[in-house]
Every structure is written in C-alpha cells, then in structure tokens.
Symmetry: C2
Subunit: 533 residues, 2 copies
C-alpha cells in the first residue's frame, strides 16, 4: 500500500526498541521487523548486516534506513544515525553515444537539483558507434575497458552534479539509465557485436537492476537499466515512450527520435509499431565542413529577411560553425528566399553571399557555397560557408529521415490525418525550429498543434521513473508490447528516398503551409533592398 507513492529509493526514520531481557531479538530482526511494521519488506545485505552492531545501540535505536528498490523488494543500503530522511536523491542518466546527460532529482519533492552533461568518454575509441563495437569484438579486455570508461563518465557526472548542488554520489539512493542497446551493452560489459550482426539478437534486451558497485558506479544503491525492445530500439526510446505516455491513449500518436539514428514508434493503447534506421550524422552537424555540435559559438538560428541574413549563436558568441538546428533553419530560409531551388541547387548570382569555393574533396574543382558569416564576423577570422555538397548531403540525410518516417507510416498503413499527435524527441528535436523542419520536409506538414516537442524524452522518462516505482511495470509493458520491424529491406525504399530529396518534397501539394510561405516570401522579396542582390 505504502509503496504506491514511492520511487526507486527512499529513506525512512526508525525508532528501534532497545534490547531488553524480555525482548532479546537481534539487531537485524529489530530493524527489519520495524520496517515491516511500516509496510516495507526489505533485504539486508551482508555489508549492512555487519554495520548494525554496535551502531544501532550507540544511536539508541534512532536511525535512518536508506532503501533502494532492487526489482522485487527494498534493500537496506545503509544506516545513518538520527533522522536524515530529508536528504534523499536519485540520478537519471541519458547514456547517449555522443553525450551523457544526468539529472539529480530530490526524491522528496521530485525537483531537479542538478543537471550536467559530458561527451561520452567512449568517443576516443571511435566517433562512430560502429568503431567502438569493432574495438570490443572478441576482445574481453577492450570490452571491459569501454565498460570502465562508461562508468567513469557516469562518475564524472556525479561529481559535476555534486559541484552544482552539493549532493554527492553517496546520497544517491537510485539511478536510472536509458541508452540505446549498444550503450547499455557497453555499460553492463556485454559484447555489443551481436547487436549489429544479423540476426540482430543482442546479448540481452532486458536491462534491470544492478548494484552501482558491480558496474563501477559510485553510488550505494542500484542502477536500473532500461530494457530494449530490439537491437536498434533501445532503452532510450522506451524511456522516451514512458515520458510521452501515449501508449495508454486511444488516439493514434507517432513518436520520432532523430539523431545519428532515427527511431519511430507509432501506436496507441491498442498497438505499438516501431522501426529504426540510420539517419546519418548530418543531423548532429557532422557533415558540414563547419558543422559542429551545439556548443558555444555554434550558429543555431538563421533568418533571411529580404536578402538580409541574421544569425543567432549559442552563448551569443562570434560564430564558429553551424549546428544541426542552425543548418535546418539556414536551409529553410535559403529555400524560402529562393537562394536554393527545390532540388537543393544554389542559385548563383542571387546574392553576394553565394560564392565559389574550392571543393574540399577535390581542390582542382570549385563549387558554390553560401557564406553565412564573412571572415571579419567569424570567430576564426575566415569565411564560414555551407557548400553545395553540404546541402546535398544534408538533403540526403533529411530524405533518409523523412523516408524512414514515411516508410514506417505506410508500412503501418497510417496517413498523416489519422495521427493525432506527433512527438518529437531527442536533443536535436528540442532545439529544432519546427517551422524550419517542416519547411525543408524533415517533418510532415501537419497542423502544428499536433506536434509535441518533448526535448530529451529519454532523460525525462528516466527521471520520472526515479520517483514512480509503478512506472517500472509500464516500462516492462512497453518493451513487451512493441512490434519491431527490422528496417531497410523495403523494395520501394529507394524510390521513396529519391522523392524525398527535394525541398520540401517532390510534390509541394503535400506541404500546403510551405507553399503558402513561399508565396508570401516571393511577394516580400519583390521589394528592393540595396547591395545584396
């Protein structure tokens, strides 16, 4: 009964009866029976059993038990003298292949007290996840090296969060970790190779509860690892779905998380269908020569009004490059302004910002580029350009993402109109300008109120679970219910992909709001502006 309102960790203050001739129970029984009287069935590990005497008697029975949920019951993680129940925390982790994020949550209030992120310490072993998988193949030492690096990353976040909030790892009673299947394998020290090799049967789909100490994570309690639904549909998606919560609703919803990989889940309380595919690194800003991660100095917003280009950078600094959301807005504006046509070709001569640069792959040749920051405006003191090749690459990527979504929806027999909500998850989705994303055809042209921008849904779902033990059941149900379709075997995939390599799409009629915008812009840009044209 009591457990209904609890999360995965809690503290409880106890006043234990002192031993007496008429009550010669052991300290162990005294503690566990008092917990039981409060509705808590708890296990007592040997380390804590050893600490009971003389501790409990010296504290005159006034002790606070720190408890962690271990899947089937509570476990006493430790005892503190006096009443320390006000201080109880949990940590949620989004274990991304690029970035690891952590939030520390006050389990008393549910409030976030710290939030930190770092680059995944696995990156030196391979920017791309596949390099890391190869690194561990048949090499138990290498596997455990990456396991250790991953745990160290989590520990570094714990220290960063301690610096921010004063809450140290030893105060963290519980942790939830959401990551894709490979990340989960590496955290647990399981060979990720079979995740990527046909027939794509990983070592484990289920995650579960693991003692922090077992994993090298410096917390006294358990880390809960989200289960995967399939090799390419990992715990991060399950966690995101927990946050979205449409699996309990009648209306049909679609959940999209596009990053290095793209995952899509469509469904409602009746069914859940999922697919995934590689979207390519473009959406994380990896392909542009000046593409960069969403860090200080990255252009993340672009507007092009009557031929005048205005930039917004992260931190308000001089531009150093452009990140995924910046690229999306840049391309949308270029298209609306007519600097690129619907095939993605730059129109030479329509602005002095359309310049010729050396093709960086073949310096003998030149190609067009848009210079979004002149040398004197940029942090490096050199022109920042987005080239024709970059545009084509980005369009191919958005086409892949679009096609993935379209393909899955058509596989599932779903039309846009049937979808009542469109959940956009992932760090990329958060920062993305929805209008720009629709304009370039990354997302379908649906009424904007149907879109729900979740932000880092994976991290949010993980944080939610920390304070809601009952959600474990939902996580289990989600992982079980999802029907996963292995992606990429589709015959008409390439044709669909080809059609998507236009802005916003081959058939503009499918994008009525973009058509309308184009009309508006064309009207405006007729008004003359000095110099730039």
């Amino acid at each position: 009964m009591n457990q209904k309102t609890y999360g995965l960790g809690r503290k409880i203050y106890l006043e234990l009866q002192p031993p007496a001739e008429e009550d010669a129970r052991g300290d162990r029984e005294r503690l566990l029976e008092e917990l039981e009287a409060q509705g808590i069935r708890a296990a007592l590990p040997l380390s804590v059993l050893r600490s009971l005497y003389p501790f409990c008697r010296e504290a005159e029975g006034r002790v606070t038990a720190a408890l962690g949920w271990q899947g089937e019951k509570w476990e006493v993680l430790g005892l503190e003298a006096g009443n320390t129940a006000r201080s109880q925390y949990g940590a949620a982790v989004d274990l991304g292949s690029t970035t690891i994020m952590m939030e520390v949550i006050d389990l008393n209030t549910g409030e976030k007290v710290a939030s930190q992120s770092i680059f995944n310490p696995q990156i030196p072993y391979g920017e791309e996840i596949l390099s890391r998988i190869f690194y561990t193949k048949d090499q138990p030492d290498h596997l455990m090296e990456l396991q250790k690096k991953t745990a160290e990353g989590v520990n570094r976040l714990l220290r960063l969060c301690e610096n921010e909030s004063g809450v140290s790892g030893s105060d963290i009673l519980c942790m939830t970790v959401a990551g894709n299947t490979t990340m989960t394998h590496l955290l647990l020290g399981l060979f990720p190779w079979p995740v990527f090799e046909t027939p794509f049967a990983p070592v484990a789909k289920e995650g579960g509860f693991f003692l922090g100490a077992e994993l090298g994570i410096e917390i006294p309690g358990y880390a809960y690892v989200f289960p995967a639904a399939a090799n390419y549909l990992g715990g991060d998606i399950i966690s995101g779905l927990l946050e979205a919560g449409f699996d309990r609703e009648k209306e049909l919803s679609v959940f999209i998380d596009i990053g290095t990989n793209g995952e899509l889940v469509a469904g409602n309380s009746e069914f859940l269908l999922a697919g995934a595919g590689a979207a390519g690194p473009a959406l994380e800003g990896g392909i542009s020569r000046y593409g960069m991660r969403a860090e200080a100095g990255a252009v993340d917003g672009v507007s092009l009004v009557r031929g005048r280009l205005d930039l917004h950078t992260i931190g308000g600094e001089k531009p150093r490059g452009i990140c995924g959301s910046g690229i999306t807005e840049l391309l949308a504006e270029l298209f609306l302004e007519g600097w690129v046509d619907s095939a993605g070709s730059l129109n030479e001569g329509c602005s002095e910002r359309i310049i010729k640069v050396k093709n960086h792959l073949d310096p003998e040749k030149e190609e067009l580029a848009v210079c979004y920051a002149w040398a004197e405006e940029s942090a490096q003191g050199e022109d920042l350009v987005f080239t024709q090749s970059d545009i084509r690459e980005f369009i191919r990527t958005k086409a892949a993402a679009h096609t993935m979504v379209e393909y899955l929806l058509s596989e599932f027999g779903l039309e846009g109109e049937e979808i009542s909500r469109f959940y956009l998850a992932g760090g990329f989705g958060t920062h993305l300008n929805l209008e720009a994303a629709v304009t370039i055809g990354l997302y379908p042209d649906l009424p904007r109120e149907k879109f729900r921008i979740l932000g880092n849904a994976s991290l949010k779902g993980a944080a939610r679970l920390l304070t809601d033990q009952k959600a474990l059941e939902e996580v289990r149900r989600l992982a079980e219910r999802i029907t996963y379709l292995q992606f990429g075997n589709a015959g008409d995939f390439l044709e669909k992909m080809y059609k998507a390599q236009f802005l916003p799409y081959t058939d503009l009629e499918q994008y009525p709001t973009v058509k309308e915008k184009l009309r508006e812009r064309r009207t405006k840009t007729r008004e003359p502006r000095g110099g730039e044209r």
Copy 2:
C-alpha cells in the same frame, strides 16, 4: 510444482533455440525463458550475464545451467557446455567451536560422497569460545581475522572432500551451515559480543543465504546459514531438530545436545520449549590431565569385569589419554565395581590400580587416582591416571548437565514418564555408551527404547536441507516456534545441582536399572580374583 522435489541446488540441461531473424531475442531472454518454460524462475547475476555471449552460440545452445536457490528464487550460478547435469553436489557443514565437519552430498541421489572434519581454526585464538569472543570485542580487524579463519577452515574441508571424492568446490552448488550463534556470527563477520552480554540480544538471529564469495568460501553458489532461536540456542540445534522431526508429532519428545554447552528442547506439534546452559568442557575431555579429544589413541571404551580393567582405544593404538566417552565408561565401571562410591570418592585399597599421585595443582599434596594404563602399556611410557580431582570435576559437570535437563523438564512441568522419546544429539552423545551414561546419572533412567541416538544431528539436518528445499519452511517455523527460557536464574538450581553430584543421583530409587546392575555386580565381584584386591 517442479520445485517440490528439489533441494538448494540443481543443474538443468537446456537446448536453446539459435538466434534467427524471426527470433531475435537476446541470449539472456533465450536462457531465462527456456528455464521458465521448465517451471524455473531464475535471476541472472551480472557475472553470468557477461559470460552468455559468445558462449551460448558457440555451444549451439546446448548448455547446462547450474542453479542455486537464494531464498526466494533460483539464481543461475554458471553455465557449462553440453549436458553436465549428472554432476551436482552440495555440502553440509556442522560448524562447531571445536570441530568443523563437512559432508558432500550428491544432489542427484542424496548420497554422501565425502565426509571430513578438522579442528576449528579459531582454536589458536582461544580454546574456549569466550576467549575468542573477547579477542574480537571492539576490534573489527580481529573479527574479520576470525571470519577469514573460519572461511578458510571451510575451504580446507572442501579440499579434503575433493581429495576423498574428486568433487571440487566449484562443483558445489549449495552449502548449508549449522553452528551455534557465536560460530554463525564469526562466520558472517558479526560481532559475537552481544551474544554473551545481557540482555543477550545477538546481532542477528536469522541466518539466511549468502554468496560463497561474500563469505570467502570457495563455491560458486550460496551458503545457507541456519537461524538461531536465541543466543544460546543456535542454528546447530535448529538443524538437529529438523533431523529429529518431533515438532510435527503429537507425542512429547525431548532433544538433548550436550557438549561444551548443553541444549535441551522439549515439545511436540503443540509447543517447543528450550533452554541451554554451560555443561563445561569435561564432556569433551578437557578437564582430565590426560583427557583428550576423540582421536587415535584415546581410550573410548572401558570395562571392568571382576577387577580386570580392559580398554578400547580409537584406532586400536596404545592409549595416549582418555576421551569423554571413555571417561563416562570408566566412571560407570568404577562405580559399579565399587572402586568409587556414590559420592565419587575413590576407595583406597580396593585395587592396586588405585594409587597415590601428586596433586598437579598443589605438588605438596597427594591425592588418589585410578591408573587406567600402566606406564608400559601407554603410548607415552608413563602411567595414565584419572585422579580424584578429575572425578570430582567430571561429576560436577555431569551434575550440571543432569541438572540442566532436570531443571528444564521441571520448569516445563514434565515427568520422565510423559516423555515418549529422548533424542540424544551431538558428537559426544553418538559415541557415548548409553548404559554408562545412565549409570553415572548423566541421562535419566528411562526405558532404553525411548532413547534415540541421533549422532551429529546438526550435520545430518544440514545435509537433509541440501536436498529438500521445502525443509527451509520447517527451519523457519522451528526457529519461530521455540520458546527459549534464559537459563541460570533459577533459585533452586544449586540445590538440584548438589543433589546431582552423586552417582548416579542422591536417590538411587530414581535409577532402578542402575540399582539392579549394582546388585548384579556386587554378586559377581564376590567371586575372588587373584592379585588385584
């Protein structure tokens, strides 16, 4: 359903489906779901999870899972390629303060394949248990030193059993350990001090399941530690009661285990009353100057027919000393033969074997002694004697034991006639000549068919549990049901004790069979025999 017939460990051969596109379950799920299909809900620890890949695939799914019961469900302890289910063993341990005994049991057949014993490696820290307890008081390092010594003792027994049977520790799936409360505390690394200090509330009465590795015991599985009912009524008694099994019967039974301490439990399916007290080391042969443990060369049997003393020694070797069972027979024979009177005084001149020796405590003085082996007969080449002081000490000890039994029975309001069975447990009880023990008044003079000599009931109960998981429930019920009376507060205890310091008792009428024997002997000894008288 299936579990009904299992013990605490088992192996099960599995044929796992190979991964395929249409069945991309993880190796973990493949294994656990196959076990579940066979009715086994099992946990999978991280170490085994890490071993699944590529092991299961290389073994083409033909694997044997070694399982250990951990209290609430099975745990996969390890996997072996192919079918190795024929080889599954458990070890039962009687953790005595003097001797540790182990039996290795084939879990397939229930048969004993090895049986070994060693002296408890704690002995160098104190012959008496109290010295060891003092050694650890407020000294965590000393405590863990004794913990380690205890575990090393168990490991040594595992190796001895391996030498005997070829079954190594790594084949032992489960272990049961029965010991008194202090021994259990030391094995677990818990301070035993409160066991002996008022109000006699130990750190833990419950034992439970502990991973071998946690305790430093070299088996892959769990060690189950029997619970104690009270500070002086430990897991060894609970285990003995499991073996005796009278707690399920209507008839009233009494269970006695007399060693360094004496424990008595009386009851039936309605009630279980228990008490315990220090019987003194005499019964383990500690007080006689030549008293020794039941080892090769120890006199363990004595007959005195018409003045002629015949000895039996362990291993048939020349006598080196006398052990508890030898002392009991010696004293019984001396009494029946009239060499000592009912007050325990040696009759000077009744045999040339009654000699004068220096009082070893006060060399100025002399005292009488019976020389049970002349110098030329003994291993050491010196007279082996049992002195008047030894006799008095032994009688005090048997009086303490007798009084304890009598006191408890009278506390419980029980008369000898009401008792339908008298279970004698403990290594001492096993070797003891029942007639001799009754003759000196250690046990009451009941019809001999009421006596059940259990032998090492603690070890037997532990072995039984290995192959019968359901017995765990009975162990729990036993520990809960027993009403323990703290012993030694009794007002008339000393008076009772005084009365018991006669052979067999102040009132010979309470020992009719002894009275009859005396009559017979006196008749026989009237026949003259040369020399000795």
